[in-house]
Every structure is written in structure tokens, then in C-alpha cells.
Amino acid sequence: MAMRQTPLTCSGHTRPVVDLAFSGITPYGYFLISACKDGKPMLRQGDTGDWIGTFLGHKGAVWGATLNKDATKAATAAADFTAKVWDAVSGDELMTLAHKHIVKTVDFTQDSNSLLTGGQDKLLRIYDLNKPEAEPKEISGHTSGIKKALWCSEDKQILSADDKTVRLWDHATMTEVKSLNFNMSVSSMEYIPEGEILVITYGRSIAFHSAVSLDPIKSFEAPATINSASLHPEKEFLVAGGEDFKLYKYDYNSGEELESYKGHFGPIHCVRFSPDGELYASGSEDGTLRLWQTVVGKTYGLWKCVLPEEDSGELAKPKIGFPETTEEEIEEIASENSDCIYPSAPDVKA
């Protein structure tokens, strides 16, 4: 029996979701942070999408958000000209780092001791989180606002993207090593440490480059302008989303389009695979995050595969099912399940 993807919608934000990031896998599972133009980034349990808390404090749209590897700290970049570091367990604000313009991107080093920031003032800044009052180290060179900045090569190098260039910098010498030029606006960048792969999206292209040399590996064209793409940890698939509100899943090796999903009501701004590759999350202009299964029909998180033998031999009717349709319909079904009697036997443990 063929299964149809059931996306899980995480509501709570009131404005477009512009960035999202997963933590690493921790003893408590993995976590997801979402940046939103409503200024209130949220932390969620990564495998279920359950809301854990909201980081309150920013006075403007939050453009970038990230978690450190063990999800004990969070960092956010906002239009109020600050980047903030938070305790991701208690939700308390730990420090506010003042900038001279809108901050767009933040990234922790592997040991969480340093924070990289970048924004509209065209400067990359490196803060020592053990000495937040100290002046950050600054790297200049970009000629337009920085959209994304990432540590790479075990924090020995920095990758940064502005409107039309992607640059590689050496951390120790704070100098530019190499740069790539594009004739279209770069919409997103993702760094995959295992294999040193850089995923860059611009126009309808999804391009893969070596993060060490910036040499191109391969690229695919999507049917519409892509805003974000993510490569599966095992590098079998990639997912991408953009202006046509749809999510696309491709085979990384062949470039073949495997699946595509409608569901969001606005352009998709960000998409990321979970650290275990079992699901991917998408954030949209419609203010929601959606979680999608990598392997449709697998029992994982809140998705539960129901076998056809249960019931009175009737053709497999999902015990608790949500057709892949509009949000309103899903809400409706969740609240008036009058025909469904819940299963008494199987363990309904998430």
C-alpha cells in the first residue's frame, strides 16, 4: 500500500520564518531553532516539532538563529542591530552583542567558545564568548551585506556569502583565501563537514562546491527559484524549496527529482535535514515550519506506520490520519474525530 507524505505543521510564529537550524544529536535527542520576523525565535524538540520555549528579548525581526552542537546554547541575529546568545536549557539571555547594522547570520565554533556574526555592515565579527565585553575580531572585504557566515574545516576557516560572492577566509590570519563570483543573488549556503561540501543556491540552481577549494562539484536546476537547499547526512538526497511554495527532493548522485510536495502557503525560505537524516524541516513566508519524512511511511517521531492487519480486515484505514491537504482541514480533523475510535492495544508512545 503506497503511503503519502504527511507533513507535520509547527505553528506558533506569527510572521515569516526566515531561518532554521538543528543542533547535533544530544543525549536528550536533537533540537530545532527557528528565526522569525516576529522577533521571537523558538526552540523545538527536533524529532517531533513540539515547542519547548521562546527566546524573548529581541526588538526586531530575527534573521538568523543557530544552536551549538549539544543544544545548550543558542545564538540569534536580528534587525535590532544585535546578536544575542541564550541559554537554550533555561531560555535566559546570556549576552547581547551590539552591532552597527542589521545582523543576519550567527554560527558557533565546535567548542562553543567563539561566535561568528555577519550582517548589513559588511563585516565578519568573531566574538570570544568567554570574554563578551572584549572587542570582537573583525574581517572586512565584503562589498555588500553578508547573508550567511559559517565556520568550516574544523573552525580553521570561515565561509561567508554576500549578494553575489562566496568567500573563504583563513581564521588565523583573518585574510581571504579564495572567492567565487555569481551573476545571480546567492540565496543560501550550507556547509557539510563530512566530505567538506558546500551547498549554495542561486536563481534556480542548487550547486555543490568543495568547501576547501571552492571548486565546483556538481549543480542541479530546479523548476523554480530556490531559496534554500540541504544535503542529507549520508549524501543520498538533497531537498530544496523556494518561490513556488513547493519542496523538492532529489537524488544527489543522479540529480533525478524523486519527490515534490505542496503544502506551504508561501515561499519557502529555509530547509534543513535533521542530524540523523530521518526528517527535514522547512520554514516559510506563511509563518509555519513543517517537518517532512525522508522515508515516507517509516515509523519515526510522530509518524506511526499502521499495518493493514489491524481492524476487522477492512482495507487499511489510518487510525489517526491526516490527508495531505490544507491546514484548516487538518485542524478540523484533529478536533472532531467522531468516527475514529482510538486503538486500545498498540502503544501510542511518541
Binding site: S11, G12, W51, L56, G297, P323, S338
Partner: protein, 131 residues
């Protein structure tokens, strides 16, 4: 061209959203062991507390826990054990001030499903739910 018959992947429930009244980060959440140890109550150096005072504090704590458990139940599927071995399930809505009645919806009874109902607490022997 035949479209294959597909069924949507079943889901246990939808992801939980914000509770609407707090910023979250529940102190008793999954990651409570990671929180720094904070002394709960600032104790004045009183040599002995009267038994009555201790009892009152215990009562207040238990009452607060119970009220919080009721809050946690809102919107969830709850199974009630009533008199005469009757068991029913429903979505918990609210309770009244004295916890004398539970307002529930989608009450599944042996004779059908009631969209909205009031369960008299004096009729309930026990109830259980999974948070």
C-alpha cells in the same frame, strides 16, 4: 492514466505549539538535569517550623501540582473510570471552580459519541491521560 491509491502516513498527534501564556523552557522538562542547582526557597534561619506550617506548605504544593495537572490535561484524550465499571474516553476541556464537573468534548460512550458533555466529578472514580 491511473493514479495509484495512496493513504496518508498516520500521525500520533500534531506537534505541540506554544502554551500561549509563558515563554516555555519548563523547569521539569526533559533537560531538567542540565539546569544549574538553584535553592528553591530562601529559608530564613528559623530553628523549627511548626508542624502546622509545614503541613500547610505541603498542602499548597500538592494543590498547585494538581491544578497544573489539570492544565496539562486540557485538549488531551483522557480515559475516565466511572461507577459500575463503566469506562469512557473524551477530550478534556475544563473544570469548574470547585472541580465538581469536567467539561469534555467527543465523549465516547458505549451508546455513541457525545460532542459536548459535562461529567460529574462525583461519578468519576479515576482518570488517566498521557501528557
Amino acid at each position: 492514466m491511473q493514479t495509484p491509491v495512496t493513504i496518508p502516513v498516520p500521525v500520533l498527534r500534531l506537534p505541540r505549539g506554544p502554551d500561549g501564556f509563558s515563554r516555555g523552557f519548563a523547569p521539569d522538562g526533559r533537560r531538567a538535569p542540565l539546569r544549574p542547582e538553584v535553592p528553591e526557597i530562601q529559608e530564613c534561619p528559623i530553628a523549627q517550623e511548626s508542624l502546622e506550617f509545614q503541613e500547610q506548605r505541603a498542602r499548597a504544593a500538592l494543590r498547585e501540582r494538581y491544578l497544573r495537572s489539570l492544565l496539562a490535561m486540557v485538549g488531551r484524550q483522557v480515559s475516565f473510570t466511572l461507577h459500575e465499571g463503566v469506562r469512557v474516553a473524551a477530550h478534556f476541556g475544563a473544570t469548574d471552580l470547585d472541580v465538581a464537573n469536567f467539561y469534555v468534548s467527543q465523549l465516547q460512550t458505549p451508546i455513541g459519541v457525545q460532542a459536548e458533555a459535562l461529567l460529574r466529578c462525583s461519578d468519576i472514580i479515576s482518570y488517566t491521560f498521557k501528557p
